[in-house]
């Protein structure tokens, strides 16, 4: 089973560590940074796709990776929007838009993962 984790920051790394408990999962991380946490510190993922996933290119990314499941693991901090008024609402709106496609998408809450 192939899982696309959108976001390779702190939250992304926590998600991947959970997914790694199942060694049969193939994990791809989509993150625009050259060396996101999940790659630089932990080398947790099998493949790093250097892309900024938005509603505009989501379908192309999914067509390219062909994941069985997409996990959204980006925080407001990952978006560098934590100090912009309404930044959190903007990020939530962008992530919500990604759940509208045909592929199963699971957004992960930073509160639940203990990042907040």
């Amino acid at each position: 089973m192939k899982v696309l984790v959108v976001g390779g920051g702190k939250l992304g790394s926590m998600v991947i560590r959970q997914l790694r408990k199942n060694p049969r999962l193939e994990i791809v991380v989509a993150d625009p940074h050259r060396n996101p946490c999940a790659v630089a510190e932990d080398r947790l993922c099998d493949f790093h796709l250097r892309v900024h996933v938005t509603p505009l290119n989501f379908k192309e990314v999914v067509d390219r990776v062909k994941p069985d499941l997409v996990v959204l693991a980006r925080t407001t901090e990952d978006w560098e929007q934590s100090d912009v008024p309404m930044g959190a609402q903007y990020v939530a709106g962008m992530e919500r838009e990604l759940t509208k496609g045909d592929v199963p998408v699971l957004p992960v809450s930073e509160q639940v993962m203990g990042l907040h």
Binding site: H52, P55, L56, M86, G87, G93, E97
Partner: protein
């Protein structure tokens, strides 16, 4: 798809330096190469050094004028350079004005922080929080866009119109934060041109929100500053602002819609808006929360516009029907009816009230001390016998330039008090200059650091700095001239 123009959408602070580096003179290039800690020290030290220098300089001026000028320069530099957070600089204003004895009693320096316009804006922001909580804004956005069909120019107009309509009542940033995902979701439905189309739509909603914010006093904080300063000198109401703000905003919207289509041409002609219709269907009928929000919002708008006449019919106190009290009543009703919880109001940017209060206090300090009169005499002397229209054009472009690099509210707070005295020195109606300044500061869409909505748009990674600069400049120049013309005609003919 990689972000366009090689930009890094997530390293906002990194490109902020580059942005200034690319468009500024050699000094700024040198400045941006200094280590961050030295830059920060200069940004804080320079304003206070100027404060000390102007205070002790042996000038042939009354000491109060000199001290007020020192305060003005220090606060302007702090707001421009961002050495301290804007609200912290705002707190410094009453401290300095009292320290120098410009206001002998602390209450005099703090009264402007409780100006009625501060509470009007507060009521407006609480109403906006109800809009967001119950999704009234989203429903309106989906409804308008679905009604305009799939023709791309019409969809652009719909997005710009929705952005303008929403930002008349809720914050420009909130409007843009809501519409960006919708815009990208719609643009993704096009096979060709989706990158260019998203640039067109994103810049469209950014500009639409800025223009819509001009229409009402509650639409944007600089409007509140300009409005309060005008109200200190003459009879000025919520409706008076709308008389000039609304037509100007709509005229600018039409102009920028036309200009944007020519600046960012796309080959596709039609767009699939079915997903928006589907989304609207999925939302179903109005929810209880939406109904309660609208039941409070619509009478509030009606009372803002016709409160004086309606109150007169029922024999109510005129003060009770003032826009501020109506806004506060609406806010209380939202909480009473459990449409909002106090928790929901925590997301409001409360710091804006401090900046408005500080701007008004600074303006009052400049006037009381005589510093505004002194600056006005200098400016009036330099402008000589220039026609008021030329002075208005200069004010418009200076306001636009400053607001592209610093907070719009701070720009209005710095410029407007001086402009009032300039108008007095020139012997013209102060509204000519204050309204041009108050409206022009909203035209800050050339740089991504101008306002938070454009920071959000830039962070999508779809819009390059070049796109923003091109689109922004093409719209800003005619827009500033239209603002000048509208104010000249409306004030000149006594319509406001």
């Amino acid at each position: 798809m990689q972000p366009r123009d090689g930009q890094k959408p997530f390293s906002r602070f990194a490109w902020l330096g580059r942005e200034i580096n690319e468009i500024s003179p050699t000094f700024f290039k040198f400045f941006s190469k200094l280590p961050g800690t030295i830059q920060r020290s200069i940004k804080v030290t320079l304003p206070f050094a100027m404060l000390a220098i102007i205070t002790v300089l042996p000038l042939d001026l009354d000491s109060k004028v000199q001290h007020a000028l020192a305060t003005f320069v220090c606060v302007s530099l702090l707001w421009t350079l961002g050495g301290l957070p804007l609200p912290v600089t705002a707190l410094l204003v009453p401290v300095l004005l009292t320290f120098y004895g410009i206001f002998p009693h602390p209450a005099d320096a703090l009264v402007p922080f409780a100006d009625p316009v501060v509470y009007l804006l507060m009521g407006g922001l609480i109403l906006a929080a109800a809009f967001q909580k119950h999704g009234v804004d989203k429903r309106l956005a989906y409804y308008v866009v679905s009604r305009f069909g799939g023709d791309i120019p019409k969809v652009l107009l719909a997005f710009m119109l929705v952005a303008a309509l929403l930002s008349m009542w809720i914050s420009n940033t909130a409007t843009v934060a809501l519409l960006i995902p919708v815009v990208l979701g719609v643009a993704a439905r096009v096979q060709e041109d989706k990158g260019r189309l998203s640039v067109l739509f994103l810049i469209g909603i950014g500009i639409g929100s800025a223009l819509g914010g001009m229409a009402t006093v509650t639409g944007s904080a600089p409007n509140a500053v300009a409005s309060a300063l005008i109200a200190q000198r003459t009879t000025w109401s919520f409706v008076d602002w709308m008389k000039i703000g609304l037509p100007t905003s709509m005229m600018l919207l039409a102009t920028s819609w036309y200009v944007l289509q020519r600046t960012f041409p796309v080959t596709s002609r039609r767009l699939d808006t079915d997903p928006i219709r589907d989304e609207l269907k999925r939302m179903g009928p109005l929810t209880q929360g939406e109904k309660k929000t609208l039941a409070i919002f619509l009478p509030t708008v009606a009372l803002w516009i016709g409160g004086a006449s309606i109150g007169g019919l029922f024999g109510l106190e005129p003060g009770f029907m003032s826009a501020t009290i109506v806004a506060l009543t609406a806010a209380v009703l939202l909480f009473l009816s459990r449409t909002l919880e106090w928790q929901d109001a925590r997301s409001i940017s409360w710091d804006i009230f401090l900046i408005i209060g500080a701007g008004l206090a600074l303006g009052r300090g400049l006037q009381v001390s005589g510093a505004a009169e002194w600056m006005a005499a200098m400016i009036a002397g330099a402008t000589g016998e220039l026609h008021i229209l030329i002075v208005m054009v200069v004010v418009a472009f200076v306001s636009v330039l400053l607001s592209n690099f610093m907070s719009n509210t701070a720009t209005a707070a710095i410029l407007a008090p001086v402009l009032i005295s300039v108008a007095d020195a020139m012997g013209v109606d102060l509204k000519f200059l204050v309204l041009v300044c108050g409206l022009s500061v909203s035209l800050s869409f050339v740089t991504p650091i101008g306002t938070p909505p454009f920071t959000l748009i830039f962070s999508t990674g779809m819009v390059s700095r070049k796109d923003l600069a091109r689109g922004g400049l093409m719209v800003t120049v005619p827009a500033a001239l239209i603002v000048v013309l509208m104010v000249f005609l409306m004030v000149g003919f006594g319509a406001v």
